[in-house]
């Protein structure tokens, strides 16, 4: 099964040029609000296969990686 899941994201583009993802829209229509972005680093995802900017996001108490690869967002399947 494909481990790279592209997702729709609502994000805030700040005046200073920085970018903060706010909400992930899952394919079944569910919206996941991102409570906090704890780290932003360039990183590869060996699991999903890709590389870009990795946002470590807290979503209802859990930490998940959200990657911005060029213009598209993806997450890794599973925990």
């Amino acid at each position: 099964m494909e481990d790279k899941i592209y997702v729709d994201v609502i994000a805030l583009h700040r005046k200073d040029g920085s970018l903060k993802p706010l909400v992930i829209l899952w394919e079944n229509g569910v919206k996941y609000a991102i409570d906090k972005v704890t780290q932003v680093v360039p990183a590869a995802s060996m699991k999903a296969g890709g590389a870009g900017i990795r946002y470590t996001c807290r979503i209802s108490g859990q930490l998940r990686y959200l990657f911005l690869e060029e213009k598209r967002w993806f997450i890794e399947r599973g925990g």
């Binding site: 360039p42 590869a44 995802s45 060996m46 699991k47 296969g49 890709g50 590389a51 060029e70």
Partner: protein, 418 residues
């Protein structure tokens, strides 16, 4: 002060990027190869499992399949590799602004001024390798030395994902036993010449009599002697984000062998149109035209000519190239690949001396034709308009070098650039 130079080589670059993106191919023999249908069928890069099976970069796809029947061959995605190459260069940029690219997957980085900030060359090399692994998801081998030539030998010495430090103290031990052909600029024919005078290793070369080398190999003999002794003082050329363009070229392996000047002229026309169009895109005119010729026996050579007037006109490139072909090819062995390179570039708006003996009106007309081609192709696609001769053999003319080849086999023309 002794320089500290890194040479960073991304291991199996194309194959590594593909393996990152397609995890299902990480544990099977896999290679990235050209288009089989159009005969650009060679292995461009392979993963370690394919290497173990004996697959070599540069060999035909069918040869690779013979050695390794279950090999997976993926088509190349050059724009993806360019993006990864840029990401890696950004990492080098954290340690130095003196970065010189050598192809898409190799760079020299001069960190002489950075060692007090970041630690020794080896420390920086290890940090860079870690960062590439973590952020880009591929591996690199890095050579650290006091000159560019030895740094490059170092990056080849241990692969993948390793750092090799070559100092004045250990150079005899590490470098001297290596075959002379490992040295940059020692190709097949130079290696043969060296063997004739009993020079097999880099150590032999370093100890060889300079006068003898000069007699046999000319000025290159002298250079190679210096290189082998670690006396390479060439600087790491600081390049901007976009490397300074020194030449623009296109080459192609035709879908069938070219057996006559007529065949060559069809392919040349398409190649020259592309080169001229790219010259105009970059606002350059060329003063030198080089042709690259490779026959069925895979022997290759280049010939070049200086132009009387700087040009970005297809017709003039075609004429210059065809003169070179007709003077240098006899078709006893059919041709497999040809290439056209424009160099000696000048900015297009530089004033030129007009001549009484050249019909400038005619030149402007030819240029207007080229502009019309550019516009039509931009709007309606490459194949919407072609020169008449393209229709004589649509198999030979049916390719779009401007779009198909993002990356040009740099080594083809490398010698001409130095």
């Amino acid at each position: 002060m002794e320089r500290v130079i890194l040479h960073c080589d991304l291991n199996n670059f194309y194959a590594s990027v593909e393996a990152l993106h397609q995890p299902q191919y990480r544990h099977v023999p896999m290679a990235v190869g050209g288009d089989v249908e159009k005969r650009h069928g060679i292995i461009l890069a392979k993963n370690p499992l394919a290497k173990k099976a004996g697959v070599q970069t540069g060999e035909a796809l069918w040869q690779a399949r013979q050695k390794c029947p279950d090999i997976v061959i993926l088509p190349p995605r050059f724009s993806l590799y360019l993006r990864f190459s840029k990401m890696v260069k950004a990492i080098y940029g954290r340690y130095s602004d003196r970065i010189e690219s050598f192809g898409i997957d190799e760079c020299w980085v001069d960190v002489t001024e950075s060692v007090r900030l970041f630690g020794s060359g080896a420390v920086i090399a290890d940090e860079i390798r870690e960062a590439i692994k973590r952020e880009v998801g591929i591996t690199a081998s890095i050579g650290v030395s006091f000159n560019k030539i030895f740094a490059k030998l170092g990056s080849d010495y241990k692969k993948p994902d390793a750092t090799t430090v070559i100092t004045r103290e250990n150079m005899e031990q590490i470098i001297y036993p290596l075959p002379a052909s490992d040295l940059l600029y020692v190709g097949r024919s130079t290696a043969r010449k060296l063997e004739k005078i009993g020079v097999y290793t880099i150590g032999d070369l370093a100890k060889c009599n300079l006068a003898l080398l000069k007699r046999r190999l000319g000025k290159w003999g002298e250079y190679l002697h210096y290189f082998a002794n670690g006396e390479d003082h060439s600087p790491v050329i600081v390049s901007d984000e976009e490397p300074m363009i020194k030449s623009i070229g296109n080459s192609t392996t035709a879908p069938k062998d070219m057996v006559s000047l007529r065949d060559v002229s069809i392919v040349t026309t398409v190649l020259c149109e592309s080169v001229a169009s790219r010259l105009r895109d970059h606002q350059f005119k060329a003063t030198v035209v080089t042709v690259y010729i490779r026959n069925k026996e895979l022997e290759s050579f280049t010939r070049q000519v200086s132009l009387e007037y700087p040009t970005d006109i297809s017709r003039e490139l075609i004429t210059a190239a065809m003169n070179l072909f007709s003077a240098n090819v006899d078709f006893r062995i059919p041709l497999r690949s040809i290439g056209i390179k424009a160099s000696g570039l000048l900015y297009h708006d530089r004033p030129i001396q007009l001549s009484l003996f050249v019909n400038q009106k005619e030149r402007e007309k030819e240029l207007a034709i080229d502009h019309a081609f550019d516009q039509a192709r931009r709007r309606f696609g490459f194949y919407c308009i072609q020169r008449g001769c393209a229709k004589e053999d649509t198999l030979l003319s049916g390719f779009n070098p401007k779009a198909d080849h993002v990356i040009f086999p740099e080594s083809y023309f490398k010698a001409g650039d130095h």
